[in-house]
């Protein structure tokens, strides 16, 4: 058992409760995907797991030891944290940025040596950002940045990777690339907890899924059991169809327009003669 969370609760000082009574655990080589609408507290939960915020109630056990009693540097050797993208002021090269992951393994008054550089290079290759290793980290694309942060977290040599919305702000191609790299890492025995607001991601890197709603886990279990049309409707407030797509060989989630009921019986709007678009396109051509 890498991580065990029991009755976790968090309240900002002087504010209302963000979440409470959350319990789950994750084993070596498992993936937990936390789904939920925006602003529900997924990021806060991940921050608590990364030891950035302290729980108000309940406990987190890391490798069987209460996290409160573990020194931050020892936590950093076990848990790698991939935050959401933010602006970086100084144009560190991607290589120097990835190298920062060696910090928990180095004494305070020292700088990284050859071995540390070698480890950083290894992770740069692993996530496939060799081409941009010399580029300034604040001038690369969102997808490349996400991969650079993942490489940095891996350079920590963690057993557990926490990813906060790893695919937000990414286009389709980069979303899939990031998820594939996560899959690859899980095969090597890494445990992964990630948050997402795309229910599709639960099927993509399928394992355990938790749906966060109303300050707790509304559902928690295997992806096929948890990601249901009923649960998604409750979570996102719109109807969602889950259908098996033979083209991609997995289930896909498709949201309906809000306010419209599910009208299977309703016919598609009829086509009115030759579409005007064709005429315009023809005229231009």
């Amino acid at each position: 058992m890498i991580l065990e969370v029991v009755d976790a609760g968090f309240t900002y000082p002087g504010g209302s409760s963000i979440f409470s009574d959350i319990s789950f655990s994750i084993q070596t080589g498992e993936v937990l995907c936390i789904l939920g609408p925006n602003g529900i507290g997924k990021s806060t939960l991940i921050r608590c797991l990364a030891n950035l915020n302290r729980l108000c109630s309940g406990s987190i056990h890391l490798c069987g030891k209460d996290m409160v009693k573990i020194k931050p540097v020892d936590i950093a050797r076990k848990i790698g944290y991939v935050p959401q993208a933010h602006e970086i002021v100084f144009p560190f090269s991607v290589r120097d940025f990835v190298l920062m992951g060696r910090a928990p393994h180095l004494p305070a008054f020292s700088s990284p040596g050859k071995e540390d550089y070698r480890k950083a290079e290894e992770k740069i290759d692993l996530v496939g950002i060799r081409k941009i290793a010399e580029n300034p980290v604040n001038e690369i694309s969102g997808g490349e940045y996400q991969l650079a942060v993942i490489a940095r977290a891996l350079t920590q040599d963690p057993s557990l990777l926490l990813l906060d919305e790893p695919t937000s702000h990414l286009d389709f191609g980069n979303q899939i690339r990031v998820l594939e790299i996560i899959d690859k890492l899980v095969e090597t025995g890494l445990s992964v907890i990630m948050s997402s607001h795309f229910p599709d991601h639960a099927f993509l890197s399928s394992n355990n899924v938790a749906i966060m709603q109303y300050g707790s886990f509304m559902a928690y279990g295997l992806a096929e059991d948890v990601v249901t049309e009923e649960n998604l409707r409750k979570t996102y407030g719109v109807d969602v169809s889950i259908t098996y797509s033979p083209d991609v060989g997995r289930h896909v989630c498709v949201p309906h327009r809000s306010g419209t009921c599910r009208c299977h019986e309703k016919e598609h709007p009829p086509c009115r003669g030759t579409p005007a678009v064709t005429v315009i396109a023809g005229g231009r051509g």
């Binding site: 931050p72 020892d74 100084f90 120097d96 305070a108 001038e139």
Partner: protein, 361 residues
């Protein structure tokens, strides 16, 4: 509001091609300071031939060897020896320590506050030290007392800033900068008040000239008082240099990489404060070095503090050494350092800003 979102781009990549290769730039960076050090000893109103200066400098070392192997017999005057050893050497050493220290403190603060516009006096240390000196001057205290008072008030000002900021738990760096502005404004007002009540024929000019900055009166006593804290603080910042990168990227990320960010910022603030307070109390208020020199360093070696911090020391030392040599040679009267650093520093900074590649957003 103080925006932390400015960022400078990789303009060092653009400047690099002008230097023919890595070796030349390395030689330039590391070779400039020793050469400037010796050359500045040659120069001064009291004319001494460079040959004599070099002999004077190496004689104490060479003459440690047995006399029959090699020996330098003095062919210089006592006055020459005094000028070099009692006047120029302590002053040149002071310029190296103060210039290098301020540049390192500036680079460390720019990393800590994630803002390339931050200078070492952002937390009010210079205003505090300036008031300490003005207070001692108005009370007709001796030169040692002026130094002690400046040093103490400099540290006091930063302590107040830190305590003030600790009342707010969130956005610590932003509140710290705001507290520094508050405390700085308060001590600046106190400086004005001391000037206002000072005797306009005697004390007022003394305070004004002191605040403009000068290394003219630095002797070994002043150096001995200030060198130990300055050197220790500089050494600590040099040792911590790589970790400053982690703070520069973000507090949360530094924490998840196992850094005790609170402790680390305390150490950086303490070291930078010791350096700046020490610098102010022997040299007066010298602006621009701590702000501009780290930028110059980034253009040469990039933003990685592992390289930037040592290079900032060398560049800052060289910069202040040049400024001080100009200050004592350009005219018969000494030109205050604070004037020269800004007169040379401001156009330089304006030039940096005007470059499109600086990439302010």
């Amino acid at each position: 509001m103080v925006s932390i979102s400015h960022h400078i781009s990789n303009n060092y990549l653009i400047i690099r091609p002008f230097l023919t290769g890595k070796i030349v730039s390395t030689l330039l960076i590391y070779g400039t300071l020793p050469i400037l050090f010796v050359v500045s000893l040659f120069l001064g109103h009291y004319e001494i031939s460079p040959f004599h200066v070099i002999k004077l400098l190496i004689a104490p070392i060479i003459n440690l060897l047995p006399e029959h192997i090699v020996h330098i017999y003095p062919d210089w005057t006592i006055a020459e020896e005094n000028v070099i050893y009692q006047v120029r050497l302590p002053r040149v050493i002071a310029a190296v320590l103060v210039g290098g220290g301020l540049a390192i403190a500036g680079a460390a603060y720019q990393g800590l506050f994630k803002n390339p516009l931050v200078s070492p006096d952002i937390l009010g240390v210079s205003s505090g030290a300036g008031f300490g000196a003005a207070l001692a001057l108005i009370l007709s205290a001796g030169s040692l007392m002026i130094q002690v008072s400046a040093f103490t008030f400099g540290i006091l000002a930063v302590t107040i800033t830190y305590i003030l900021s600790s009342f707010y738990r969130r956005t610590p760096t932003l509140v710290l900068v705001l507290s520094g502005i508050i405390v700085g404004a308060f001590f600046t007002a106190l400086i004005s008040f001391t000037k206002y009540i000072a005797d306009p024929y005697d004390k007022l000019p003394a305070i004004t000239f002191w605040l403009m900055g000068s290394l003219a009166s630095v002797r070994y006593t002043e150096l001995l008082f200030i060198a130990p804290p300055l050197l220790i603080a500089t050494a600590v910042l040099i040792l911590l240099r790589w970790r400053i990168n982690l703070l520069a990227v973000g507090d949360d990320e530094a924490r998840t990489l196992g850094i005790d960010t609170k402790r680390m910022s305390q150490v950086i603030i303490l070291c930078s404060t010791l350096i700046t307070a020490g610098a102010v109390c022997i040299a007066g208020i010298i602006g621009w070095v701590g702000l501009v020199v780290p930028h110059l360093g980034r253009m040469l070696v990039g933003p990685d503090n592992k390289k930037l911090i040592p290079v900032s020391f060398l560049l800052g030392s060289s910069y202040l050494l040049i400024i001080d040599t100009v200050a004592r040679n350009l005219t018969m009267a000494e030109i205050p350092l604070g004037i020269l650093t800004a007169i040379i520093g401001a156009p330089f900074f304006a030039y940096l800003l005007s470059k499109r590649s600086v990439g302010w957003t």
